[in-house]
């Protein structure tokens, strides 16, 4: 069992020097126990104590890296059960499944798809992360050929076979790219653990339930393998939700070490219906998976999954922002309306959506207020005439339009007079309070 704050405190220098950033050693010990501080922050702790305490200060869910280089992905090291408690840190990797029982054409199609299903959204690149390569042939030669082909995508790999000989053959060609080996089970774990150890690769541990899984993890860690990923055997949405919840709770709330690892989910094995498979993957994004293996990431399925992952892994403490600047909607010209609002991305999305729906081309001027919504930014003294005036001058809108009329959000109607003082060339018009009223406002707009 993990050490308590008091146990840790006894081993600290107890100087209360505050150099770690926390005033007292006791408070620091409490933070270590909660996984909220790193022992390295203490300059005076002895090497001996460091080793002794490393287990207690280790994150309750281990960070596991799959792959190498730019495309390597990190999973695990999560700290909460609900994203509002802090945030979810490491996005789950989405893996597309290819199988050595598939035809060449099918394999090539899927490998091309994983490269092509890429989208840019709110300044982030959304894409798949891994190729899961499965041996259903149980033939080392065929599997190795497929692994070589999959390596061409440069994505990290998940190697799926229960046969340690087949795994071993594949590792001869790809071990240096640090694939995730999938999986060690009760029959093959000694060989699989050896392969993981020799090749320094992360390893999936698979069992039929959480009891068996915990026992197997302990056997494998005893062999010296540290980077593990868990498969509890559940496949349906309902059972996966239950097991993932138990694993996350056991790791975080009970500090139960055998389950302190990221989870792999297999919607691909549960659902033939493409919609259900996608939504099973969605539930795994919300509820705690680190790697999610799906049959397909055709764009119509990939885009919503990537966007959900982006949503759920957005830091709830930090508002989403977009860049300051002028955003043309439709094909606005020198006579088009000019709308002003803040750079909170939800504000921007809502406003731009309504402008688009109105079919009136517009210029939207987005001012940087550190991602706050209109009212909050105004209350915080950021979205005020003294700041808006200079913004309107520097953003370059004067070169885009020949008229001088700007519409401001209805919620800050009270600033219109003062803003006209700041912008003597401009007419400041109060627009609607709610974005939903923008279309009717624009219909009646004239410069």
């Amino acid at each position: 069992m993990a050490l308590t704050g008091l146990d840790i405190y006894k081993k600290l220098p107890q100087k209360n020097c505050g150099e770690c950033g926390i005033p007292t050693c006791l408070a620091f010990a409490m933070k270590l126990a909660a996984g909220q501080a790193q022992l390295e922050a203490c300059p005076y702790v002895s090497e001996e104590t460091k080793t002794e305490l490393s287990e207690a200060s280790a994150p309750p869910i281990r960070l596991v890296t799959i792959g190498t280089g730019d495309k390597a992905i990190k999973i695990g090291e999560e700290a909460v059960l609900f994203r509002h408690e802090k945030t979810f840190y490491n996005q789950p990797g989405l893996a597309v499944l290819v199988d050595d029982g598939m035809s060449d054409a099918e394999i090539d199609g899927k490998l091309a798809q994983i490269k092509n299903s890429q989208f840019e959204r709110v300044g982030q690149l959304l894409r798949a992360d891994l190729v899961a390569v499965k041996s259903s042939s149980n033939d080392a030669g065929r599997f190795t050929e497929l692994v070589k082909k999959a390596m061409g995508t440069e994505f990290p790999l998940v190697l799926i076979t229960d046969n340690s000989e087949v795994m071993k053959a594949a590792l001869l060609v790809c071990a240096q790219s640090k694939p995730l080996l999938c999986a060690a089970n009760e029959n093959n774990f000694e060989q699989m653990a050896n392969l993981a150890k020799e090749n320094n690769c992360p390893l999936v541990v698979a069992a039929k339930d959480l009891n068996a899984l915990s026992e197997l993890v302990e056997k494998i860690t005893a062999q010296g393998v540290k980077d593990l990923v868990l498969d509890s055997g559940s496949r349906s949405i309902k059972d996966s939700l239950k097991d993932a919840t138990f694993i996350r709770r056991a790791a975080l709330k009970k500090k139960f070490k055998p389950l302190g690892y990221p989870i792999i989910a297999f919607p691909c094995e549960a659902y033939d219906d493409p919609y259900m498979e996608a939504v099973a993957a969605a539930v795994s994004i919300m509820k705690y998976a680190g790697v999610i293996v799906v049959k397909d990431l055709e764009p119509w399925r990939a885009l919503p999954l990537y966007v959900l992952r982006q949503n759920i892994y957005t830091d709830p403490q930090k508002p989403m922002q977009i860049d300051e600047g002028i955003y043309p909607i439709g094909e606005p010209d020198e006579n088009s309306p000019v709308l002003l609002t803040t750079n909170f991305s939800l504000t921007y999305f809502t406003v731009s959506g309504e402008v688009e729906a109105s079919k009136v081309p517009c210029w939207i001027c987005i001012m940087d207020v550190e991602g706050l919504s209109v009212l909050t930014a105004w209350a915080a003294g950021k979205f005020i005439p003294e700041n808006i005036g200079p913004f309107m001058k520097r953003c370059g809108i004067t070169d885009k339009v020949s008229h001088r009329k700007v519409s401001i959000p209805g919620y800050v109607a009270q600033i219109s007079g003062e803003l006209e003082d700041e912008l003597p060339d401009w007419v400041v018009e109060v627009g609607p309070r709610e974005a939903g009223d923008i279309p009717s406002y624009l219909k009646n707009w004239s410069n």
């Binding site: 092509n116 949405i237 919840t245 919609y275 939504v279 969605a282 055709e298 959900l308």
Partner: protein, 312 residues
Amino acid sequence: MAFQAPIDTYQGKIREVIMGGESNQITVGGEIAMPFHFFEGEMSRKPVIAMEVYDVAPDNWSSAVAKPFRDVLSDPVVWAKKCQDEFGADMICLRLVSTDPNGENRDPAEAAETVKAVLEAISVPLCVYGSGNIEKDGEVLKKVAEVTEGQRVILGPSQEDNYKPITAAAIGYKHNVSGLSPIDVNMAKQLNILMTQLGLEADRLVMDPSGAALGYGLEYVYSIMERLRLAALQQNDEMTQMPILCDFGREVWKAKEAKTEDEPSWGDPEKRGILWEFMTAASMLIAGGDVLVMRHPEAVKLTKKFIEELMS
């Protein structure tokens, strides 16, 4: 080290809200654990799906979502019946968009006639949402309450600035109310307090914490719902124990990813739109949604399958 299932215990319970008249009642709520956590508390009531019907033909629906309703869009009565009979709607959510003063500005009595006609044609419970205009909704919903007396209709959206007339109408004519708050736990709670202080029984209330689509604020609503549910169950906070209504169908079909047809790199537009709504629905269910207001019949069908899959 032996594994022991880390079961949570909860103090609170979600209230049960009965909807519909004598002969067609449905009850929602009653949860005693977090959503679909059957391993620590039963979930005796299934989440329900209310399909949207507009009282005037919408002119801005994308073709993917307008297509299944092509023949009924201009007749709310036939439209509602189709949702019930063909698409398996558990409820109908009738939106009185015609009453918007910035639009057709239909008067309350005329709008209420439509409500009455729809109610007579269907055998599933009804939810009636006004246009969202603060002042007008108060007048419209009062008239609606009157002509549907005793049918336990959900009247909404009741907001901070118009909850009084709407709540009074619900008390007078024995209906339920949906309280709309702007993605904020405390404001959702405050609205419940205000409405119950007027004398509305707490088990006639559902909470609408604002609708959001995947990619357009979903994560905010998702977390607000989880927080409301945790407050209700773990802290036994009575004023958060109302079932949650999720009004996201119309938000989904505003999203460009759901409705854009000329973006080949995004793949099949029809399937993409349906999945956009289905995935939003699944997220809302996982966060604690009890009543989902939805639009596309295929997304409704898939969501029902998802609920069955989880409840089986």
